[in-house]
């Protein structure tokens, strides 16, 4: 672990407000990007980021600096996101995806950054689909593990991923068409 991270960690453990602020400002961008991928909107992502940092400040006292602090904080934030997603009543609502895709309003501001362009599209997905795509494609978890995370079967995770990707492609297509028309 880097010397700077160790200093921040020790400061936070002492309850030093300056170190706590430093920890937040060092990692906020990375962790907020994770929250944005899992949340439905910016407001929700900010709430989850807050919850994630509170859990991090709580658990820092037990944290053993054997690995990367960043990786540990990512894991904690991811767990918070999954906890919120699990608390949703219907992860995989029965929807006619094509019809929903037709009705959805896409953001009209052109994003130059391809990663940024993908975030609003991800946020349009229903909770469960978004979680499956994130966990499988980005975090590289297996379907078995995803099933355990979300309380669904392995095969269900697999089929939801297919549906989610299909839905996402439709949304991207819709966005492209809109940009061409403009």
């Amino acid at each position: 672990m880097a010397e700077k991270e160790l200093q921040i960690l020790e400061g936070c453990r002492r309850g030093d407000a300056k170190a706590q602020a430093q920890l937040y400002h060092t990692f906020k961008s990375t962790l907020f990007a994770i929250c944005r991928r899992y949340a439905s909107n910016e407001q929700e992502a900010e709430d989850w980021l807050q919850d994630g940092f509170i859990r991090i400040y709580q658990d820092l006292y037990q944290y053993k600096p054997t690995g990367s602090l960043k990786a540990w904080m990512r894991k904690v934030t991811l767990n918070i996101c999954l906890k919120h997603i699990r608390s949703k009543k219907k992860l995989f609502p029965v929807l006619d995806l094509e019809r929903v895709a037709e009705k959805l309003e896409m953001p009209t501001t052109p994003e130059e950054d391809p990663q940024e362009a993908l975030v609003p599209i991800l946020q349009q997905l229903p909770e469960g689909y978004r979680a499956v795509i994130n966990l499988y494609v980005i975090e590289a978890y297996s379907h078995k593990e995803i099933g355990e995370f979300l309380g669904i079967t392995e095969s269900s995770s697999r089929s939801q991923l297919t549906r989610a990707k299909k839905f996402m492609r439709q949304l991207i297509e819709k966005k492209r068409t809109k940009n061409i028309v403009k």
Binding site: K28, T30, Q115, L118, I138
Partner: protein, 464 residues
């Protein structure tokens, strides 16, 4: 073969988001900075500090209350004697009117001495000459028999002026009577035994001296318990890893509980209590030596893994199948035998809220109660760690893994049966011991013990 590889451009696009960064609004830190939790050790220190202060405060209040009663004891009962000139034409004499309960007038006969020892009683020895002017007053506090024989009456010829004076005297008399009774009640209340309603009055007072009295009813009462409970959950069960393998999870676990309990003492026999406590396990560990069948093992440190299986909340028994597989690497049930040892350890905290009903009995000064209740347990936090070591002919592999207990029951209900021994230290404070059997009522895995034993010890403060 490269052309057959299925490459999804959407996947690549998504993967590029893994290391993305994005700036949150500045308001997030403003909101967050106010919610940052303090150091846990401070919290714990604060808990004990506040707990000690609370006990000290309650004890001080109790002490002051006792001392206040003693002060009342020391107040001399006013023994002012009022004399009235009666305007009787035939007879002019000064008849002293004596305040009832005047210490000078309280009887000291042997029978009444016995009585005075046992009950809050004072007697007014009224001269016949006073019967006519003494008012017949009902005992408003139902305590202390005041014997005023008002059946004998003698007509008094008095003027209007004298009547007014007599009315005034009667009024003063009543007032003094009530005041004195109140003081005596306070003095006598202190003399009462710890459980005054349970001990029936049997003073052996001679008949006719006063009416029979009902015991003073102090119920319903509120009392507060503060204490700690230790639990022991024996686990001597086999946990199945798969169809062919099982491990002996023979290590018991201990948990401790701390919290406050509010008791509502309905009457001398029945009590209802409600508490909120926090329960944490002192230590949880399952150590196993299992000969498992592996063809090979891929053990790595920092293996990403997820705890699966059902977690038996109260006993700590866990279906360890996938944990072993993930901690020890890829697991093949058929193949070469490899000796594996693993240890599962961790801790968790439940917040528990229980409702108990007590049926109480008295044995000398000790109060015994049988209690039964139900509790709702809500998970606060849980952390587990698995440590696996594999011994084969050629190598020894060692792996640690933190486990995410996402299958842990967030809420469950348990029932409890127990005894409650209460021994008074002071009239307001008792020491309490309570052995208890806990039974988890929620469904648990078969083969897993869901029964635990606990011993509670604490103090009970009675709010009178």
């Amino acid at each position: 073969m490269e052309q057959f590889k299925n490459i999804d451009p959407l996947d690549d696009w998504l993967k590029s988001m893994k290391d993305a960064s994005s700036e949150p609004a500045s308001e997030v830190w403003e909101a967050l900075s106010g919610r940052i939790p303090k150091k846990p050790s401070n919290k714990r220190r604060g808990f004990w500090l506040w707990g000690l202060l609370l006990i000290f405060g309650l004890s001080s209040i109790g002490y002051l209350l006792i001392n206040e009663n003693e002060k009342i004891n020391a107040i001399p009962i006013e023994s002012k004697v009022i004399t009235v000139e009666k305007t009787n034409k035939n007879k002019t004499s000064q008849t002293p009117i004596i305040t009832p309960l005047d210490p000078q007038t309280i009887s000291n006969s042997p029978a009444q001495k016995v009585q005075n020892r046992n009950r809050p009683t004072a007697f007014y020895k009224s001269p016949n000459s006073l019967n006519s002017i003494l008012p017949k007053v009902e005992n408003p506090l139902k305590i202390g028999a005041l014997s005023v024989d008002s059946t004998v009456s003698a007509p008094i010829e008095s003027s209007v002026e004298t009547k007014e004076i007599l009315d005034q005297i009667k009024s003063d008399f009543r007032q003094k009577y009530v005041d004195n009774l109140r003081q005596i009640k306070n003095i006598e209340l202190k003399k009462l035994p710890v459980y005054p309603t349970i001990l029936a009055y049997d003073s052996g007072t001679p008949k006719g001296t006063h009416s029979s009295l009902k015991p003073l009813n102090i119920y319903p009462l509120l009392s507060v318990d503060a204490g700690m409970k230790l639990n022991h959950f024996p686990i001597h069960k086999l946990l199945e890893i798969d169809d062919k393998n099982a491990i002996n999870a023979g290590s018991p676990i201990q948990t401790y509980e701390m919290g406050l309990q509010m008791n509502f003492e309905i009457n001398s026999k029945w009590m209802v209590s409600w508490n909120v406590i926090s329960r944490k396990n002192l230590h949880f560990e399952i150590i196993n030596n299992a000969a498992l069948a592996y063809s090979h093992s891929k053990m790595e440190t920092n293996v990403r893994g997820v705890m699966t299986g059902t977690y038996d909340h109260d006993v700590g028994a866990i279906a360890l199948r996938s944990t072993v597989q993930q901690a020890a690497g890829t697991y093949y049930p058929e193949g070469n035998f490899v000796h594996t040892e693993f240890k599962l350890s961790g801790d968790w905290t439940y917040k528990k809220s229980s409702l108990f009903v007590y049926r109480r009995f008295i044995q000398n000064k000790t109060r015994l109660a049988i209690k039964a209740g139900v509790g709702l347990n809500t998970l606060e936090k849980a952390k587990m760690r698995v440590h696996a070591v594999e011994y084969s002919d050629s190598r020894i592999l060692d792996a640690h893994m933190n486990i995410m207990l996402h299958d842990l029951k967030k809420r469950y209900v348990d029932g409890a049966l127990g005894l409650d021994f209460e021994r008074p230290l002071f009239p307001f404070l008792s020491i309490v011991f309570a052995p208890e059997i806990n039974i988890a009522l929620s469904p648990v895995l078969k083969n897993h013990s869901n029964v635990g034993f606990g011993l509670y010890g604490g103090l009970r403060y009675r709010i009178r």
